[in-house]
């Protein structure tokens, strides 16, 4: 338990460091979200930059990003369904720290809160807050720490949170099946290959695994689309409609579309994306579990187990499984990164909505907030998975569990 807490603390520190790294590198890179072919007029640009806190110093921007300094009215009726920012009614009186008084005159009013680096920026004072409450305004805080990633910079009416909320499940819908596919197929394959080391079965398993690893998603995706979605359908059409003369089928639809090549819908729509991403993962998992199992099989304790007269399946499941699964488990951390890079290609190839697509869009548009949002989500996924892997590790390996005493 103490170990879990300690690991959790480490996780938090890593998240903050990583956040800062991504935040500063993207802003230091040339170009910005508003540098289009036709840049907006200077006045609008100035407003835009202020709107996104980009007129602040870098540390102040980061602070604002984390703890949310800006508030703005989202919808005039105050429902503020999607708003995580605090809502200020029109004409609210805002007093800044400098002593001047502002009146919010348009929808895009923003109020800045105290920030240690830019003292002059001001804050919502108690009086203003009370007034807001009087007007029945919903007051909400914002910032990444409260789970608010802000507004997209390229599409200014859409929240990054909404992008993520729509994109993440879409990605998980094929990422999790492909991971399961790779694990449930790859681990037994690796074990079997190790058990039959240097025999034809071993060779076949390694070849299948290598094939999956070596052929990039970029090639695999169109290949499978061509084979399954195009050729197979053409074959079925030929078989059922032209040869067996199932006229009814021909009348209803031109092809069976058994394994579709894209878009979302039924389960079948996820077959090809899962296969493409899954085979990419498969090779690594076969190799890792094979290596792990081989090492365990060669170990002295497996020799002891054999000397006890245990049958092969007991040896494999009880004595080999745990040590052999550990390398695979370690790989489950980096696997998130693999799925991310895979998703970039797969979502394009199979016209799937998902984080990968948004990631590319965010990068090309210099959409800082969206890029941060997607990065943070993936970062959290990687860190969380690593955290789970670490906990599983301690559960699997008693030598870590009791804290030391390795032999």
């Amino acid at each position: 338990m103490a170990y879990a807490l300690q690991r959790f603390g480490q996780m938090l520190i890593i998240v903050i460091i990583a956040l800062f790294a991504v935040f500063s590198t993207q802003r230091l890179a040339p170009g910005g979200p508003f540098d289009g072919e036709r840049p907006p007029p200077p006045a609008i640009l100035e407003n835009l930059r202020a709107y996104y806190d980009m007129d602040l110093s870098m540390p102040a921007q980061f602070y604002a990003y984390l703890f949310g300094m800006a508030g703005r009215e989202i919808e005039a009726n105050g429902t503020a369904g999607k708003a995580h920012w605090f809502v200020v009614p029109k004409n609210a009186e805002i007093t800044t720290l400098g002593g001047t008084t502002d009146r919010s005159t348009d929808d895009d009013l923003f109020v800045r809160r105290f920030c240690p680096w830019d003292q002059w920026l001001g804050q919502v004072l108690p009086g203003a807050r009370a007034q807001m409450r009087e007007n029945g305004t919903v007051f909400r805080k914002c910032g990444v720490v409260r789970g608010d990633f802000g507004l997209s910079m390229a599409r200014r009416s859409i929240y990054v949170n909404d992008y993520v909320r729509d994109g993440l499940p879409a990605t998980l819908k094929y990422a999790i099946p492909s991971l399961l596919f790779a694990l449930l197929l790859g681990v037994p394959m690796g074990f079997y290959a190790a058990y039959r080391q240097n025999k034809p079965a071993d060779f076949i398993m390694i070849t299948i695994g290598m094939f999956g690893t070596v052929v990039p998603n970029l090639v695999m995706a169109p290949l499978l689309i061509f084979l399954f979605a195009v050729q197979l359908d053409a074959f079925f059409h030929w078989l059922f409609v032209e040869t067996l003369e199932w006229i009814e089928l021909a009348r209803r639809q031109r092809t069976l579309n058994l394994i579709p090549s894209g878009k979302t819908g039924g389960v079948m729509h996820y077959v090809l994306p899962t296969l493409v991403l899954g085979t990419g993962l498969l090779g690594r998992i076969v190799r890792l579990s094979r290596a792990g199992a081989l090492e365990a099989l060669r170990s002295n304790y497996v020799r002891t187990a054999r000397a006890k007269g245990l049958p092969a399946h007991v040896i494999l499941l009880r004595h080999v499984f745990k040590p052999a699964i550990l390398p695979v488990l370690t790989y489950m951390g980096p696997v998130t990164a693999f799925i991310l890079t895979g998703s970039l290609v797969i979502e394009r190839a199979f016209s799937l909505p998902g984080l990968g697509r948004q990631f590319i869009a965010a990068a090309t548009d210099r959409d800082y907030t969206l890029l941060m949002g997607t990065t943070v989500i993936l970062l959290l996924a990687i860190i969380l998975l690593n955290f789970i892997v670490d906990l599983l590790y301690t559960w699997l390996d008693p030598r870590i569990r009791r804290g030391g005493g390795r032999s």
Partner: protein
């Protein structure tokens, strides 16, 4: 010796070869060993003499790249070509083995309890878990492990080396085997623990009437606990016989050299000398290309031309038929020692 007894297990003309990328290693070249009920048989030899491998072969524990010929007869079975399915009821049940390295021979991922109980229940299918547990505790008590109940729940890394080897011995003895093969069980342990382990083995052996094969390169240990000894060199038997006879009146130059190379504390002050410890000159032959003649010939002080031409067979001594040796030299022990000293 009394009338010829039937051996419990007999190794007949056993050959073991390992296929390696650099060629075939002929680890064991035609050895014959009979093991009788209730005896403690010592197997001594240098590292790489095939002493461990020949007994690994009896339990089918050789590496994947090994191939064997000959026979290991046990209870009308030839263990060498018995399929694993038929070998398993014998392994750990009628023939058990204790390995050299207690640090790695227990599975670090499983508790002592799991590893002991599985050994019991695989052979005694109707034994309940509590009964098996009880038996394990009993067995741990027998090998002098205090607080057995708690130890059972622990993982191997929580036990010391000596403790682990005792667990290994308890594990091997759980099913009351007829034969216990102890493959250098004390090599990895320090001297005081070695003595304890030997005491435990010595105490348990007569009480169970089992035959023990004790593989070691410590001649002192053999002298202490064994009744018969086989001296192995380069995958062959050099000399076989009762321990006292072989050690006091060795007839094979290799046995003599081994004995001479044993460090010992000076018996009295007058004997104290600054003489360096004797070492057999040269190195064992490369077993990828075993020599045509006697494998010990290049290092032997007593060899002549005959020795390099032909490999001597293991034959009974003229004056002591229960003893065997593989050497053309028919001199007495004293004469051979003389030659040895002179040759140096």
């Amino acid at each position: 010796m009394s009338a010829p007894r039937t051996p419990l297990l007999s190794i007949k003309d056993l050959h073991i070869e390992f296929d390696t990328p650099d060629g075939t290693v002929k680890a064991v070249n035609g050895i014959n060993i009979d093991l009788f009920k209730g005896e403690v048989l010592g197997i001594v030899g240098e590292s790489g003499s095939g002493k461990s491998q020949s007994w690994m072969a009896t339990l089918g524990l050789l590496a994947e790249n090994a191939s064997t010929s000959g026979a290991v007869l046990f209870d009308d079975h030839n263990l060498l070509n018995l399929p694993t399915r038929d070998l398993n009821p014998i392994r750990g049940n009628r023939i058990a083995m204790v390995f050299q390295d207690p640090m790695t021979s227990l599975n670090p991922y499983l508790t002592v309890e799991t590893q002991m109980i599985e050994a019991l229940r695989i052979h005694q299918k109707d034994m309940s878990k509590p009964a098996a547990r009880q038996r394990c505790i009993q067995m741990l008590d027998r090998v002098a492990i205090p607080d057995a109940d708690r130890r059972l729940k622990q993982f191997p890394h929580e036990l010391s080396g000596g403790m682990r080897q005792r667990v290994m011995i308890a594990l091997a003895l759980l099913n009351d085997p007829e034969i216990l093969i102890a493959d250098e069980p004390t090599t990895a342990l320090d001297v005081t623990i070695q003595a304890e382990i030997l005491d435990i083995l010595l105490a348990l052996q007569p009480e169970r009437g089992m035959a023990v094969v004790f593989i070691t390169h410590a001649l002192g240990v053999v002298a202490e606990i064994c009744s018969r000894v086989c001296v192995m060199y380069a995958g062959q038997l050099a000399e076989v016989g009762p321990v006292e006879d072989v050690f006091t009146d060795a007839r094979h130059p290799y046995t003599l050299s081994l004995l001479k190379a044993t460090p010992r504390a000076a018996q009295d002050t007058t004997e104290q000398s600054n003489e360096a410890l004797y070492a057999i000159p040269g190195a064992p032959p490369n077993m990828r290309m075993p020599p045509q003649g006697c494998p010990f010939e290049p290092r032997c002080a007593c060899a002549n031309s005959e020795c390099s031409q032909e490999n001597p067979k293991l034959e009974p001594l003229d004056d002591a038929p229960e003893r065997l040796k593989a050497c053309f030299r028919q001199q007495s022990s004293a004469e051979l020692t003389e030659a040895l000293n002179h040759g140096r």
